[in-house]
Structures are given as structure tokens and as C-alpha cells.
Symmetry: none
């Protein structure tokens, strides 16, 4: 993107660009660290993995929750995107939801509305709204039912090792008698 030439000066104005890059690096790092160690992982580990000073982390994110929200926001956005067409299919969207459940401990925790989270509720509500839109009128399940079902599936995958989660998630949906599409992420444009 930036022309590789000009090793000279150009002192200022990089700030803006560096800031954005750091923010993204922090989110990426946090996603990885939270996935591996859970939502209570040391924030210093996140900063280290992002290659960024501790202070910068706090400049971008006021507290652990803000950082976690930023991480989860990306997951939720993918779910929203999966339902972003005229007649969204519930099974399809649940496939995306489940894909994230099997990848991210943090996402699991969020959907179980772990304790405190004001932020978590907001994100969780966005998921609910998406699912609501997928329910044709007269469906045997309500949005509450589906949200509960999602929480239940997250309970099924919360403990075991990553390798087992996919199998367990599918077994859980089967036990619920709810059809689910193929487990997959929904690539959005902002990864470019």
C-alpha cells in the first residue's frame, strides 16, 4: 500500500496509520490469546503477541470488556452477514453460529452471558435479532427457543478439547432435533 520508497523523513502523519494497524493487531492477537487461554488471559500477553506496548492497548480499549467486545463483534458481524439476504435460512445461519462456537471459547462464553457483561448483552441481542429474522412466521420455535438452544449447544462444546467440539456440536443439534447447515465461517470483506 504505502510506497516502499522514501526512506527519508516524513515524520508525522504516520500516527493515524499506525494507530489503525495497532488496533487491528490487538484484536487479532486478542482473538488468538482468548481462544487459547480463555477470556481471563493476561492482557500483557495480548499486547506482547500484537507487538504493541501495554499503553497502546489501554489507549484503544478501556478495559478487558472493550477488547473482548471488539473481538466478538467480528464474529457477530459474520453471523449478521450470513443472514443478510431476502429470505435467510435458519439452518444456514446456525451453521455459521456453530462454526464460531467450535472455534472460540470467548464466543461460547459470550453467548452464555457470563456474569457481568453489559457489552455481552448487546452482542447477544444482535445474534438474537438475526435469528429472529430467520424464523418464518408460524415456525414451531420462538426466537427465545433458538437462543436457548444456542446456549445449550455452547454448553456442549465449552469444556472439551477443540478437536471434539465439532462432533459434539452436531450431536447436540441432533439431540435437539434442530437442523443445522454446514459449519463454516462467513468471510466478510474487511479481512483484505
Amino acid at each position: 500500500m504505502t510506497p516502499p520508497t522514501e526512506p527519508q523523513g516524513r515524520p508525522a502523519n504516520q500516527g493515524r496509520r499506525v494507530a489503525a494497524r495497532n488496533r487491528a493487531a490487538l484484536i487479532t492477537a486478542a482473538r488468538e490469546v482468548f481462544a487459547e487461554q480463555g477470556l481471563t488471559a493476561p492482557l500483557s500477553a495480548v499486547a506482547r503477541r500484537a507487538g504493541v506496548g501495554q499503553g497502546s492497548l489501554y489507549r484503544h480499549f478501556a478495559d478487558r470488556d472493550a477488547l473482548a467486545s471488539a473481538v466478538l463483534d467480528e464474529n457477530v458481524r459474520q453471523i449478521e452477514a450470513a443472514a443478510d439476504r431476502p429470505d435467510p435460512d435458519l439452518a444456514d445461519v446456525l451453521g455459521v453460529v456453530t462454526w464460531h462456537l467450535t472455534r472460540s471459547t470467548a464466543f461460547v462464553d459470550m453467548l452464555r452471558v457470563r456474569g457481568d457483561g453489559e457489552q455481552a448483552r448487546v452482542l447477544s441481542d444482535r445474534v438474537r435479532r438475526v435469528l429472529d429474522r430467520c424464523l418464518p412466521p408460524g415456525h414451531r420455535l420462538t426466537a427465545d427457543d433458538v437462543m436457548l438452544a444456542v446456549a445449550m449447544v455452547s454448553g456442549a462444546v465449552a469444556g472439551p478439547a477443540p478437536a471434539e467440539r465439532e462432533r459434539l456440536a452436531l450431536a447436540a443439534w441432533r439431540l435437539l432435533g434442530i437442523e443445522v447447515g454446514p459449519l463454516r465461517p462467513h468471510e466478510t470483506a474487511d479481512d483484505a
Copy 2:
């Protein structure tokens, strides 16, 4: 020199008479603290709530796992007791299991086999064995199914406030189409 009555200094060693009482107090305190804060709560908080020195905690329980096991063992024993008769009824036993799920975050954590826990696996296996015994031959569910269902219900109640858990647990079982008896503990004799 100084008279034997010293209101200052050490709070007085009350001798070994209190040993059993302390042990019980520690388990009670741990049950409460773990229920509120989860299995990673500070052990110092447990000792404080039990009104006992830190050293006494470590004398009675070698490590966090030993303490957690002592707490959870009581829950599991009640479940075992509930099934301890000629023809145990699955719905009944699930009622006891669910009762504990709605009371104790720690019990929820245990059944999701969070992390490494050797002890957790042992306790979890005891629950599985109990449930296995309740399944008449030819039942539509396997023991694995039921354990998965229990994990799913624990996912349903893990996040929300205690007041909501009972309602959610019942809704979860209904969604699974599995009948569950009244939610209740199973009082054992050792409380005397």
C-alpha cells in the same frame, strides 16, 4: 510474667476440638465461594469466609482440586443416593442433577470438565454411571446422550442470574423433549 490472659496477639489456638468443625466450615465456605465466583476463586477468600487461617485450609486440603472435590463430592453423593433403589427413575434423578446445576456454578463447571481436572473427570464419571443405571435397556437415549444433554442444560443456566436458572433449566429439558422430575436436593444422613 504476663498473665495467661492476653486479648492481644494470637487469636488463640482452640485445640484440635475444632478440627472437624473447621473442615466442615471450609467445605461450606468453599461451596458458597465457588458457587458465586466459580472454581478459580481465591482460596484466601474461602479461608476468610470459613473464619480459618490459610494454613488450616492447606492442612485439610492439599490443593484447590482437593477442596473442589470435597465440595462436589457431596453433590455427586446426593445424585447417587437418589438413584440408590431397585428401579431408579431417570426423570427423578435428572431432577436432582438439575437442582444442583441451578445452585452451583462449580457443579456446572465440573460437568463441563473445564480444562485438565483429573478429579473432575472422576466425579463426572460417577454421574455418568448413575445415569447409565437409570436407562432401561432399549431406551431411545444412550448414557452418552444423557450426559451430553446434561452438559447442554448446564450451558443454558451457566450465564444467567440464579433467579432465572430454574426456569431456564426446565425450558431446556422441554426443548430436548426429555422428561424431568421436580427439582430438589436429595438430603442424605450425614448432615446430622
Copy 3:
């Protein structure tokens, strides 16, 4: 020793005998524990190895120093015994001294008069007196010289693993040009 008969009563008077046995067990245990872990080993470990309550340890020995002295007293007594004849031979006695140096970290520490020890000085002086008696008038070395030499040899063996100590001690004496007899303990009668 005690007649194996009479399983009945005989309530008291055992106290005296048990006390002596405990004291001996504590010294033996302390010798082993101090030899393995050094003079700062936990006293609880000594009591445990002796099969005795912590309280009993403190009844017999007011503090760590008293216990250490009791352990070392036995070593010093052997050295005194080795010189307990008309014309004691310096090399012989140094052999006994060196034998203890190679076996006991505690003994090494004592002869280097580690820090505090009032007790250590007393024991150390007894060794000096023994060595003094072994020096024929007109010997090229003074008692101070020999004590210094002993401290130097203890420095040579203090760090390395037990297996190396014998070799190093002999090399040290050779470097000093002082003749030393065979390394051996001096069995006394009180082991019966």
C-alpha cells in the same frame, strides 16, 4: 527389651521410655534430613521422618540450633573418642574429622562457624581442644593452623555432590601437605 507379655493396663511410666526413644528418633531423623537438605530444612520434615508430633520436637529441642547441636554432638563425640588414648595420632584423628566432613553438610557448616552459632562455637572449640592434644610440642603446626586447615578442607567439600567429597578432601589435605589417616567413623558404644 521389654517383655512382650502383659498386654493389659500398665498405664503410666511408659512416658519416660517413650520420651527417650522420641529424642533419639528425632536426632536420627534430623541427621538424615539435615544431611540431605542442609541445616535450613523444615523442622516439620524432621518430625515427620521421626514419626513424632511437631510439639514433641519442640519439647525436646527449644529451637533449630538445639537440634542441630544434638546432631553434631554425636560427631564431635566420635572425634573425641578417637583421640582418647595416651598418645593420640594427629593423622588418625584428622581421618575421623574428614570422614564426618564428607558425610555431613551440617558438620561442614558447623566448622565454618556459620553466622550466629553460640552452640557452634562450643562444639567447634571441643574439636580444637582435641586437635590441640594431638600436637606434640614443637610440631610445625599450631592448633590454630590445624583448625584453619580443617575449615579449608570443609570449604573444599562444601559444594560438590557427596560422591566427590572424599576425593576432594584427600586432594585438599595433599595440597596442604598435611598427612591424614584413613577416612573412617569412630564407633562409640551408645549406638547399642
Copy 4:
């Protein structure tokens, strides 16, 4: 709301200007504390004496060994510097070695390779290499001999009070028949 001047609360973060100063203060404090109490002295005492938070100590030195190495490295560097010329004189270098032996309990401990210490072995080897270089071919002593002699002298000074150590060290070398130059440090340039 509150004016930026708050005499209460945090003692104020003085920014990274003090980083180097803190590191140096820690080494100085550690040198003193280790010299007085040995290498097992509480690290909290070091931090306190340095006027630095516990966290800062751990930021600069990962563990006790790293701190000890930093302290001892300076001693060893002086010894190396003393031998850093065409034809180093053994007696001279031993004078520097002995000077450090009489000042620092920690240095004494290091040369006796107490316990496991990976780091201690490294430093000790550096001393050996220096001494090796001072031995003209055909000298009556090998490097092993001289290292043993150094360990022996350290045994002579390890116990007694600082005031006595110089006298005892000289007496020890005399007893060994090894010539030693004046006891003195070797000032290096980095004190500036």
C-alpha cells in the same frame, strides 16, 4: 475534578528515565543483601533496599539466578580484567579473587557451586579459565589445584565475621604455600 497534584495514592511513576537507574540500584542492593544474608536472601528485601517495587525487580531480572548472576558477573569481570595483559601474574590475580572472597558471601557461595546453579557453573568456569591463563607451563600447580585452593580459602573465610576474613584468607594462602598479591579490587571503567 481533583487537581493533578495528589500527594496521596501512587508514589508516582517516574517514567522510563529511571529504568537504568533502577536496574543499577537493584544490582547494588542485591550485592549488599546477598553479601550479608547469602544468596537465599528474600528478594523482597532487595527490592525494598533498592527503593523499587517488587514488579520492577522481576521486570529486570527473571529470577533469583538472573539477579545473582548480574551481581557476580561484576566480580568475575574484575578478575578477568586483572588478568587481561600479556603476562598475567598468578599472585596478582589471586589477590583480586581473594579480595572479593573477603567481601561477598555470595561470591564465596558461587565458588563452592552450591546446589544446582547452572549460572554458578558458568561463572565459576570463567574464573577457572582466568586462572588457567595465569599458570606458566611447567608450574607445580594445575588449574584444578588452584581452583581447589580457592575453594579452600573460601572455606576459611565463609564463617567468620567480615573483620576477620582478610587475616584468615592470608593465613590460608600461607598454609597452602601459595603466594598471593595485595588484596584489592580491580576497578573497571563501567563505574563511571
